[in-house]
Assembly symmetry: C2
Homo-oligomer: 367 residues x 2
């Protein structure tokens, strides 16, 4: 099936050549820095891409939610870090069941979460690894470095059913970086906080064999900080305008697009396509590259001006006035992780050929 | 099953009592104004709620996408307005198939779309009704009123396989209204443009028996304009903070909430819950009522300060400091239509009891 024919729109298209290059590039960065790569699967939510990353050298994957972990295990992926505190009886039972089928590590930032997990897995006769999540300035979750991290690590190390394995950080503030210097500072700071925390724990008799840092923009910098053992970038596999804006991805390397159809030409300079926020989402607002809510492949003069739920409003440059109702376009989104989560399946293409349509196994698995 | 127990989080909860009151209220508004109510099903995407609206007096439903129409027909709803131009061969074949099973009306704003639909349904030996979409100031789709509307209506009226039925407008600018006066102006203007266009067509021998106006905030005003025959509000069935902010819905009448669990208490005044933009979406940003990205039922002092993909960050008031990891909360979202589209199923509750879990049949049906 040809890429630009037959696929009804809106359809998410993933370019395999670009994806493989992105996978190889981040693997090279990790390998050269001497750290493990454990990509965050929240971006693709598909075991097929996880397997591609593992085949290229990744040690396993990261997920945010237990439901994503279940989708990965069902798809044959068996080494999973859940970078999220698992809380609540229903989830603890699911976690225990999953721990019987795979190698699981869970990040926690509270005694309550740690004890809940320990109780559940111990009772089920299984075990999981555990990382202490340390805040490195994003102020989302995580205990402060220093005494609070040490205190939580001591508790974790004493719990039945769990193995204390180290520390985890996530420098989400990298998404606000406005220069390569800013990115470097954030990544190096993340790595430093993670590594220093690990050394503190080791000094206190708690060997932290894993020191895991996150985020696509900061990972290349965090990876080079001595003491860091693992990075967890996610978005790099496809890339999007948010990453392009940050300077962490090249526009030409963006592997995920949304194929859309022009459904209206309400006036000169205006076209409307059949995808709005229910495909592109409202994440990230306008891109930093000046093309609004997306970038239309082959039409650099088009601005994706605004979106409603099912409509995408384009402002056309003079040279795009020939576009007509029924024409199709491919649009690079602002936030690819969000787009994947909106659709039940994606078309995987090699050059101009659709080679597969894959279900998004982890779509909507926020539980 | 009790509402606050056993449902794993994040889980979308829909309060039936409130929903039924919302349904009855809008039906009363339409009935008193002497117009038909054809609710937009993009909000709930579930045939069960469409049936509830029809049982209360609605004449059928509106949808944006063909995939939503298919989900409605599969669920037994047979009178559907697709307020969207259907373009492209694959969709035209699906439209023709659906027209054989239901009463369909499609809105168009271009000759290309109208001819494509006519060709397809005529060849298939079926027929659909057709409305001419007229722009009433939102500048999204729609032909201008006056000569362009007349010209398109003439074309439609001459096409085989389609029945010209009237005009359709959508005053999306009502979402930016900042007072009841502004809403009234927008709604009355929408109704006036729709009705005047219809009169123009009738004067020219094209009886426009349907004059259909849209949007929850503007419908009550548009409904009272002489000549308008139908309104298509959607969000009113559940309500959300966007509608509350506009003044089109009461906070106490918001029927849809997201049940979440506190997964972290990283510091005083801070709590993190297990739902972020992958449930709440980024639509609408902060609500206008001062509680950020959501409103926590029973905790008016909490601000839903910011969201990442799977985390919701709460700022707590002093009286909420007793909240602990593992506690659950219910949050009214900013944009309910967007939230329904993120989840595969919802819990339907009556008071404190979960009476059903319904699949979101139209979820992700943007094709």
């Amino acid at each position: 099936m040809a890429r630009t024919e037959l696929l009804d729109t809106p359809f998410v298209i993933i370019d395999l050549d670009k994806t493989e290059r992105n996978v190889a590039r981040m693997q090279r960065i990790a390998t050269e820095a001497g750290v493990s790569l454990r990509p965050h699967a929240k971006t693709h939510k598909m075991p097929q891409f996880a397997q591609m990353q593992i085949n290229a050298g990744a040690v396993g994957v990261t997920v945010a939610k237990l439901g994503e972990a279940e989708a990965m295990v069902a798809g044959g992926i068996r080494d999973i870090l859940i970078a999220y505190p698992i809380v609540g009886q229903a989830k603890l039972e699911r976690l225990s069941a999953l721990a019987g089928q795979s190698s699981l590590v869970v990040a926690v930032d509270s005694e309550e979460a740690a004890r809940g997990i320990s109780d559940a897995v111990f009772r089920a006769g299984v075990s999981v690894g555990m990382l202490v999540e340390v805040d490195c300035g994003f102020c989302r979750v995580g205990v402060p470095t220093g005494e609070p991290a040490l205190e939580l690590a001591r508790i974790v190390a004493g719990l039945p059913g769990v193995r204390f394995e180290g520390v985890l950080t996530f420098a989400g503030q990298s998404y606000d970086a406005d220069s390569e210097d800013a990115l470097r500072r954030i990544g190096e700071e993340e790595g430093r906080i993670a590594a220093e925390t690990a050394r503190l724990l080791e000094t206190n008799g708690l060997p932290a064999k894993r020191v895991s840092c996150g985020s696509t923009p900061s990972s290349p910098y965090a990876a080079r900080v001595p003491g860091v053992t693992e990075v967890r970038p996610g978005t790099y596999i496809f890339g999007d305008l948010m990453q392009v804006g940050i300077g962490a991805h090249k526009l030409d390397d963006c592997a995920l697009t949304v194929k859309v159809t022009i459904v209206s030409r309400p006036g000169p300079g205006r076209a409307v396509v059949d995808a709005g926020t229910k495909v592109f989402t409202s994440d990230g607002g306008d891109s930093r590259i000046g093309t609004g809510r997306g970038y239309v492949l082959g039409h650099p003069g088009i601005r994706v001006a605004w979106l409603t739920e099912e409509h995408g409003m384009l402002e056309l440059s003079a040279e795009d006035e020939t576009l007509r109702v029924g024409d199709t376009l491919e649009i690079v989104p602002v936030h690819c992780c969000a787009v994947v989560n909106m659709v039940d399946e994606v078309a995987v293409v090699r050059g101009n050929e659709v080679v597969a349509v894959w279900p998004v196994a982890g779509r909507g698995k926020s539980k």
